[in-house]
């Protein structure tokens, strides 16, 4: 086989991929932002002393953990507009679907971190007169957040990569743009190599950063 590589034609169409990347980044960033709070709130529900609150939260989390992402995304894109009778742009649906998935993952991380907030810190908050909501907002959330940042970042990269599944429901993100481009220029090898490299280049620094944060924590604990 004598294949002649032609990356040049991919780069000539770089703007298609750049558009796709920017939508991917936008969706992933928005989902991450929502899922930091979503994950924290779900964690609080999971830790509620009331079974009536805990049970639905547990079911919610288990649903997302025990079904494939792709099924969740299809379900979300086809069922939500019909069930709720609302029209949302595919970008908004993509953000919502990814936010929910990511929230359940972040919730798991937050659950441990919330439990790790020292009881004394919360007591100090009570002694200072902070209301229950103020204790959650000003003591429990920031303290847990510090513990959980490496996991949030790891989950965040995963969400960015998972956003590629949205190409299957016609969200015009990076993977979708890659497919369009490869069909247009008949260069699947080159196109998907470049697409893969783009995912890598975006994710690698974050994953290196997580590694650095974790090494620093281990050092600090010693």
């Amino acid at each position: 086989m004598n294949y002649v590589y032609d990356f040049a034609s991919v780069f000539r169409n770089a703007d298609t991929l750049i558009d796709g990347l920017s939508l991917s980044l936008e969706i992933a960033a928005a989902a991450n932002l929502i899922a930091v709070f979503g994950g924290f709130v779900i964690a609080l529900l999971l830790l509620s002393p009331s079974r009536l609150i805990r049970l639905p939260a547990t079911l919610f989390v288990e649903f997302f953990r025990c079904t494939p992402f792709l099924v969740q995304i299809f379900w979300f894109f086809y069922c939500v507009p019909m069930l709720l009778d609302v029209y949302l742009s595919s970008r908004a649906l993509g953000i919502l679907a990814l936010s929910l998935i990511l929230s359940t993952f972040n919730a798991e991380a937050f659950r441990g971190a919330v439990q790790a907030v020292p009881r004394d810190q919360i007591d100090a908050g009570i002694a200072l007169g902070l209301s229950p909501f103020q204790r959650v907002a000003h003591i429990i959330f920031p303290t847990a957040l510090r513990l959980v940042i490496p996991v949030l970042l790891t989950n965040g990269i995963l969400a960015f990569q998972t956003s590629s599944l949205l190409s299957l429901v016609a969200v015009e993100e990076l993977m979708f743009s890659g497919k369009m481009l490869s069909a247009k220029i008949y260069r699947p090898i080159e196109t998907f190599t470049v697409v893969a490299l783009i995912y890598l280049v975006v994710s690698l620094p974050v994953s290196q950063w997580v590694g650095w944060l974790e090494r620093r924590r281990v050092r600090a604990e010693r």
């Binding site: 004394d120 007591d123 200072l128 007169g129 209301s131 103020q134 920031p142 303290t143 957040l145 510090r146």
Partner: protein
Amino acid sequence: MSNSFKSARPDPLLRIDAVYKSYAKGAPVLRGIDLEMAAGERVVVIGPSGGGKSTLLRVVMGLEQIDDGAITFAGASYVTVTGRRTRIDARVRRSIGMVFQNYTLFLHLNVVGNLILAPCKVNGESRKTATARALTLLDRFGLAEKADAYPSQLSGGQKQRVAIVRALMLDPALMLFDEVTSALDPELVAEVEQVILQLAGQNLPMIIVTHDMWFARRIASRVLFCAEGRIIEDGPPEQVLGSPRTERARDFVHRVFHIGG
């Protein structure tokens, strides 16, 4: 007769009436605590480990449910029990401040951030005036240059001093100190005790749990010896620390003075 005697005295600052408390069913930790404390008093609580000293302070701070009894503060009903429910008046609670044995500074906030959190969020004070007050107080306790430091950059002694100042920001009418120096390296104990002595000099009422008998003798106007959830001795420091009436207290004081050096 006894009634007219009582009403002749001013309302006590703190009045604890027959307080019972258990964490687990059938294992009472406080077994009928009665205490009247006047505004001018500095009460030191001593006693063996597990005797309920911390629990007593936590109950006074309004951090715990109780099984039975009542607490009034400055004449106002503060902790009451109806059936199985404990009602704690949050407004009354705000006039009491507490510093704990473990470090409780909020790690995500710097020193000033720790000090102004409650004044701003609870009392609605402006950041600007709260910060100005914080800086004044820090200066008074020799912590001015630590205003922007984060807790991780402070020594244990500094952390506890900041924790004291944080409680003072809310202008408490009663301060509770639960073994605030026992997690510290020995050479850092004095600086924290110095701050508490400074507050004693300003006549701030306080209840102090400590194992440091020398400090107890210096600061107390009254000493309680607590064991097994009861107040076993209650009197001036010379008496309770010097010539305890009960054998338990005598043994305890002997032992601690000898370990303490």
